[in-house]
């Protein structure tokens, strides 16, 4: 297959991904692999391109969870098709520990961030929802991640979020970056939450991480 054909095929893949059509995306990946298009090409010029387009589209006015969920599901389906048996062969750009803290069981925002970070090659250690602070700290101690991401939909978790940096420091982990996001937490500033960054949406959390990690977005 020549380069032009590959790009045309990838533009179709990007269209399908952007539409969030998981079934069609999987069939398209199968077709591309059968035609001999490299996995890396599909990921970089197809899946990551769709991620960039979604990022650009998700302005404050247009951002909605449903659309991101659909594109995310389609992209995860694509990745499973590309790496069906050996997830470890995906690039590993470092670990990120993510959680929704104790008292908050809303994990949809966390799951979306997890998907996006996974796309970009980060190994996401998911501490789940309703996560006690100790469990989060244990995971950070074990994984030595690039950053800790905390998602919060309801205001009752705010006091716990405010404790994270101090609790990390008490364990000698004061160099770990802490990022907060979600409907409740994004109403506040980083200094109010005592974290390093408050993300407006999933993509801004990614951009912040990439800027800290020194990697291109």
């Amino acid at each position: 297959m020549n380069l032009t054909d590959g790009k045309e095929s990838l533009s179709h893949l990007i269209e399908l991904l952007t539409a969030g059509d998981c079934g069609q995306v999987v069939r398209e990946i199968q077709d591309l692999l059968a035609k001999g298009v490299l996995r890396e090409t599909i990921i970089v010029d197809g899946i990551e391109k769709s991620l960039e387009l979604l990022d650009a589209k998700c302005t404050v006015a247009e951002f909605n969870l449903l659309e991101i969920m659909l594109v995310g599901r389609a992209a995860m389906g694509a990745m499973k098709e590309i790496y069906p048996h050996d997830a470890a062969s995906q690039p590993d750009r470092g670990a990120v520990v993510i959680a929704t803290l104790e008292g908050d069981v809303h994990d949809i925002g966390k799951n979306i961030v997890k998907m996006i970070l996974s796309w970009k090659g980060y190994r996401v250690v998911d501490c789940g929802k309703d996560c006690p602070l100790k469990l989060l700290l244990d995971a950070v101690e074990k994984e030595k991640p690039l950053a800790v991401f905390i998602s919060g939909l309801i205001t009752t978790v705010i006091p716990l979020v405010c404790q994270v940096k101090e609790a990390l420091a008490a364990r000698g982990l004061d160099d770990i970056t802490v990022v907060a996001g979600g409907a409740a937490l994004k109403q506040l500033s980083a200094s109010q939450l005592r974290v390093d960054y408050v993300a407006e949406d999933a993509f801004s959390s990614l951009r912040f991480l990439e800027s800290r990690a020194g990697a291109p977005t």
Binding site: N64, L65, E67, M69, G103, H106, A184, Q187
Partner: protein
């Protein structure tokens, strides 16, 4: 003028003796009264006492018969987890697959879960306040209830993958909403609020709201009016500007706006509808009373020419808020709260 008269003036886009002020306080009232949140969430008597005492303390213009957002899903069959100082969360959803809908029954509000406690609280508050102060009932919007019946992620994927099945679940949810709301009106609520955070454009795109949710909200509000609701109050938090044009056709008389909606935008999009909002919820925890007062004064200034405004937060005032900040909101509207010793 009474709180009721001020509300009625606002509903007619008029100007009463002052701007009505209605802090959206639920669990906060328990905290202020030194009552464990778990007791507030379990007992209609306790809810009514906390709501009445807190209103008496600050002197604002309405009370709410509200516990939390899990009352309906619990009544249908979901299992909840209650913990100290937290609202409950769902541990086991009533619907784990679309086929579960066939075995579910509509709840009887006089018997199911904590619904009777809500009805009891509304009756007590109506009896104490008579028609001087509005008593507000609350139900979840059908979409939000659907997400509470089966989990948000599952519900939204179902909407895309199996829209017919999802529509059936929404229809069931709207029947629960209608039943519970009508029961609240009969029990003592003067007016009903539909609280529908899942319908925000931050979660679903506007066309999704228009196609799935708008027809149901319209029907539910019509039922509430037939049952005697003084007004229909639509509360969708977040950046709702793209769906504001649907509020009028839905039958909303009061539109809640969150901090993400500018007053001039709301005024332009909702020319004939009373508006409430829109102080940031978290500001009641982190801001100073002076900041709350200044923001409140600016807000009232934005609506001064048109009228039809209720000073309020954009969403719930969190239980951990500073009481002085609620006092500052109320004082800004010109109220002298009678402080209890």
């Amino acid at each position: 003028m009474t709180g009721m008269q001020r509300l009625e003036a606002a509903l007619h886009l008029g100007v009463g003796s002052r701007v009505p002020v209605v802090p959206q306080v639920f669990g906060f009232t328990a905290k202020l009264c030194g009552t464990p949140l778990t007791e507030y969430l379990a007992s209609g008597d306790t809810l009514a006492r906390c709501q009445l005492q807190t209103r008496e303390h600050f002197g604002y213009d309405a009370v709410f018969g509200v516990m939390d957002v899990s009352v309906e899903t619990e009544a249908v069959g979901s299992k909840l987890c209650f913990r100290d100082n937290h609202y409950p969360s769902v541990t086991s959803y009533a619907i784990t697959q679309a086929a579960d809908l066939k075995r579910l029954c509509l709840p009887d509000p006089s018997r199911a879960g904590r619904m009777p406690e809500i009805l009891r609280a509304l009756g007590i508050m109506r009896s104490v306040l008579a028609d001087q102060v509005p008593v507000v009932g609350l139900v979840l919007g059908p979409l939000t209830l659907a997400t509470q019946l089966m989990g948000m992620e599952k519900a939204l994927y179902l909407a895309i993958d199996e829209p017919d099945q999802f529509t059936e679940i929404l229809e069931f949810a709207s029947q629960v909403t209608t039943l519970f709301g009508r029961a609240q009106l009969r029990a003592g609520a003067h007016l009903m609020m539909i609280f529908d955070p899942a319908s925000t454009p931050a979660v679903v795109p506007p066309h999704f709201f228009r196609e799935f949710e708008l027809p149901l909200i319209t029907r539910v509000f019509a039922e509430f009016k037939r049952e005697g609701s003084l007004a229909n109050w639509l509360h969708i938090a977040g950046p709702v500007e793209p769906i504001l044009p649907y509020y009028g056709p839905a039958g909303a008389d009061i539109a809640n706006i969150d901090y993400q909606v500018e007053p001039d935008v709301a005024l332009r999009q909702l020319p004939g509808i009373c508006i409430n909002g829109n102080l940031k919820s978290s500001s009641f925890i982190f801001s100073s009373p002076e900041e709350i007062r200044d923001t409140s004064l600016a807000l009232m200034g934005a609506f001064q020419d048109r009228g039809g405004f209720i000073l309020s937060s954009g969403c719930e005032i969190p239980p951990e808020s500073k009481p002085g900040n609620v006092g500052a909101l109320v004082s800004a509207a010109g109220v002298r709260g009678r402080l209890r010793g």
